[in-house]
Amino acid sequence: MQVPILKQGQYLIASIQAALSDQDLVQLRDALAEKVGRLRARGVIVDVTVLDVMDSFASRTLRDLAHMTRLRGAETVIVGIQPEVAFSMVQLGLTLEGVDTALDLEEGLTFLDKKIKRSTSRG
């Protein structure tokens, strides 16, 4: 199950459509890290609304993805973590530390707009 990645202005939006295997997640991570450079994106949004499970592997891969894209000059925000998924993650001890999150796609876009404007105005 490949995740479609859309380019919207300076942003890449990866909208997960169905349950992903570990391999699919790794593919998504690598595809985004590569596309950030090729498409000169400044921000990445990963929409996980449809995921009904976020286990240790998924959390770790998303965290790696956020850190990798940051090293490539783009900010990542994870959007759409469902309340029961969030509860389950906390029970497992998965906090996505150092990763930005937002409620949904709209909030994610607003978040990136602010964050990227701030960094460009600073220099």
Binding site: D22, D52, S56, F57, E84, F87, S88, L92, G93, L94
Partner: protein, 133 residues
Amino acid sequence: MASETVVSIYTDVDVVVARQKGRELASELGFGLTDLTLIATAISELARNIVLYAKHGEILIKNSLVGDRVCIVVVARDKGPGIADIPQAMQDGFSTSGGLGLGLPGVKRLVDEFHLVSDANSGTTITIKKWKR
């Protein structure tokens, strides 16, 4: 209504199948959305440990009735190398956070009962239960 499903675990795709089967059965039993998520997540962790450490094994999912109380039982079985140091594997911090380890303390927190048997000769069997509230 007793039902039992066994999912053979070889690859990361089987991990997804196992947790979906578990979710299905739990849903049929009338578990709430939060418990469905906890059960599916626990199965995902156990199945992945099989792929990572034992290469092959199986996940058995069934329901059980004690008096008028319903529970879902998940048994993760493999004939892999076994867990050398069980107390260490059950120690928090040894696991999930850094991405190494089995994440077993986390799985234990997701469920109501957790039972682990492991040795180098016969592999590892982990049994978890979650009671319907």
